[in-house]
């Protein structure tokens, strides 16, 4: 067997994230054009990379139809103006799409099949409402393979509150307020401007520029959140305020073999240490990152104490709270989501993974004492994903 090669993360960017509503930023913008924007920005920021050296383009979308339907990796490569010799493909693991694109590309690099791979994800949830065009197999319910609630992500979040009755709505709201505050601070400090590429978008009111996340509400208070309705269950705990809204957004990143990056003078920001996917009960899909985290740490022979930074997706506040329970850290741990999370910026399903990676890479720069970091998220139908990274920005 070929000797495995080191895989490094060079750089990653995203579009601003918009509301998936008819008056959202991207309502009249194509999903693949958003992905193209992110890809071109990655290349612009890394001019040392000759585009013909890109060996593959791996793009994720959950809804692989319409403007996300044409084998995205290849579609985006061609539309971005990459040489026609650069191939591409599409992947889907729902919310872990971009993470799966990354680990698929990393596999190619590790095996010596590729030196440079562009990875990313896009989800235009305005054009493709969740579950649209999906034909659920009736056996799921008839044979009780999954609980009915497993198909509705908000209901799985209510289920988490049931499973952990001591995680209250108040806890979830407090977490959400903090996420909004941290994200607002990150924007104020210019941190997000390094990750988010503005994009001009056509709207009914003419062209404008999507430069800032539309969901961002740094002034959110506990009082304001307390009065929101609970759409998934009468008297429930999950609200629009303590969960991520339906979002349009795209992300892209460049990963490479450590040697190939070194040869052309690209400075890697992180080294991929390992990754794990795990399955859980679909109606408790939010628990997925717990076994995925345990698995990747065990394989790397590390413990939670060794990890300096966590970037964990926040589809629902209770999902992060239950992850904290499962891995034994507090939700106010300063290592966790230092720049806020999806509750503040939104969660365009398959695109989110690279957002986590880009924020982790930025966090490593701010926290040179942090040696390892983890990107993790939960996945519909009861799964979790975790990638473990090592900080390469602490020797400079």
């Amino acid at each position: 067997m070929a000797e495995l090669r080191e895989v490094v993360y060079i750089d990653g960017v995203r579009t601003a994230f918009g509301r998936a509503t008819p008056d959202g930023y991207f309502a009249k913008t194509r999903a693949d054009d958003m992905a193209v924007k992110a890809v071109r920005e990655v290349l612009r920021r890394n001019p040392q990379l000759p585009p013909e050296k890109i060996d593959d383009v791996v793009f994720a979308a959950t809804a692989q139809v319409g403007d996300q339907g044409l084998t995205l990796g290849r579609d985006v490569a061609l539309l971005a103006g990459l040489p026609k010799s650069v191939p591409g493909f599409a992947v889907d693991r729902m919310c872990a799409g971009a993470l799966t694109a990354t680990t698929a590309g990393a596999g190619e690099i590790a095996m010596g099949a590729a030196d440079f791979v562009l990875v990313g994800g896009v989800e235009h949830m305005g054009h493709h409402p969740m579950g649209e065009d999906v034909d659920f197999n009736p056996r799921f319910i008839a044979e009780q393979i999954v609980d009915e609630s497993a198909a509705v992500m908000g209901q799985t979040a209510e289920n988490l509150h049931d499973a952990f009755p001591y995680l209250t709505k108040k806890d979830a709201d407090a977490y959400a307020v903090e996420s909004q505050r941290k994200a607002g601070a990150a924007w104020d400090e210019g941190i997000m401007d390094e990750i988010v590429v503005p994009m001009s978008v056509f709207t009914d009111d003419g062209w404008t520029v999507a430069a800032r996340d539309e969901f961002l509400r740094p002034e959110t208070t506990m009082e304001a959140l307390a009065g929101l309705r609970t759409p998934f269950r009468a008297g429930g705990r999950v609200t629009a305020g303590n969960s991520a809204g339906l979002t349009d957004g795209a992300t892209a990143a460049l990963i490479a073999s450590a040697d190939a990056a070194d040869e052309i003078g690209l400075a890697p920001k992180m080294r991929l240490v390992g990754f794990a996917y795990a399955g859980v009960e679909p109606e408790l899909m939010g628990l997925g990152p717990v076994p995925a985290t345990h698995k990747v740490l065990e394989r790397a022979e590390l413990t939670m104490a060794d990890i300096g930074l966590f970037e964990v997706n926040e589809p629902f506040a209770v999902q992060v709270l239950s992850w904290c329970e499962g891995v034994g850290i507090g939700p106010d741990d300063p290592r966790l989501n230092a720049y806020g999370g999806a509750i503040a910026c939104g969660h365009p399903l398959a695109a989110t993974g690279v957002r986590l990676m880009a924020q982790l890479a930025r966090g490593f720069r701010d926290n040179q004492e942090a040696r390892y970091g983890l990107t993790a998220l939960c996945i519909g139908l009861g799964m979790g994903a975790a990638i473990l990274w090592e900080n390469l920005q602490n020797d400079a």
């Binding site: 193209v36 071109r40 503005p198 001009s200």
Partner: protein
């Protein structure tokens, strides 16, 4: 069916260089019904110019809805036109386009799609121009219709690209099966400062405007050397008289 009137839609963009006015010409239809300038459009432009009168603006970017810049005066209105209305329309265009020229901050037209007649003229009243390499229709076809580019075209075009090229563009091309310029040709003729790829055309045009504001580049009024204008027109008239034998009268009646 007449197209709905084109509107000038103003959005305020925050940029490192301050507030940018991003103005889109849009009639709310897709590219098969291009933007045109009729009375409603001119009134809409007037509204936007009012809003641009406040002191906080640092620059203006003028562009069109996707795939179309603007294709000039609204031909639908011509049916009911009288000499008096023609004069008023001409004067209104002079006044409004003149106000664009006189805006106290720098202006850039991002020619993203078809630009014909008044569409070309409004772009030329801006200080700078970018053009998308995908543009295939850039022309002043008025002369083919027995008109002249009446919103300043006969003045600003020669001042920008010289008499020889201007006569070719305004007079000779329309009379040669209404020949139009591609983006590449328009750029080479001197109509645009930058020829940009379509993929990020507006983002790059905006970046160029911001960069010019930050660099302190001022407004611009090109003045080509027009000492040869009489000679160029005399030769062109002789050539055209030989071709059209008086069939197209508007262009050859008077020198520009």
């Amino acid at each position: 069916m007449p197209s709905p009137p084109t509107q000038f839609k103003l959005r305020r963009i925050e940029s490192p260089a301050g507030h940018i006015a991003l103005v889109t010409m849009d009639n709310g239809e897709d590219w098969t019904k291009p933007n045109t300038f009729g009375e409603h459009a001119l009134r809409s432009l007037e509204d936007v110019l009012e809003q641009l009168g406040t002191p906080d603006w640092r620059g203006l970017l003028l562009t069109g809805k996707p795939f179309v810049f603007a294709v000039g005066a609204d031909i639908e209105e011509f049916g009911e036109i009288t000499p008096e209305r023609a004069r008023l329309g001409g004067a209104a265009g002079h006044e409004l386009f003149g106000r664009i020229r006189e805006l106290p901050f720098i202006t850039l037209a991002a020619i993203n799609g078809a630009a014909l007649g008044g569409g070309v003229e409004i772009a030329l009243h801006c200080d700078y121009r970018t053009i998308s390499s995908s543009v295939r229709h850039f022309a002043c076809p008025e002369v083919l219709l027995g008109l002249i580019p009446g919103w300043g075209g006969t003045q600003v075009i020669p001042q920008l690209i010289g008499a020889e090229r201007a006569v070719k563009f305004i007079v000779e091309n329309p009379l040669r099966q209404n020949r139009m310029l591609s983006a590449q040709q328009a750029f080479e003729a001197g109509f645009a400062d930058e020829l940009l790829e379509p993929v990020e055309f507006l983002d790059e045009s905006l970046a160029m405007l911001i960069q010019k504001i930050e660099a302190g580049v001022g407004k611009r009024r090109p003045r080509a050397d027009l000492s040869d204008v009489a000679e160029v027109c005399r030769k062109a008239r002789a050539r055209l008289d030989g071709q059209v034998h008086g069939a197209a009268r508007a262009p050859t009646g008077r020198s520009i």
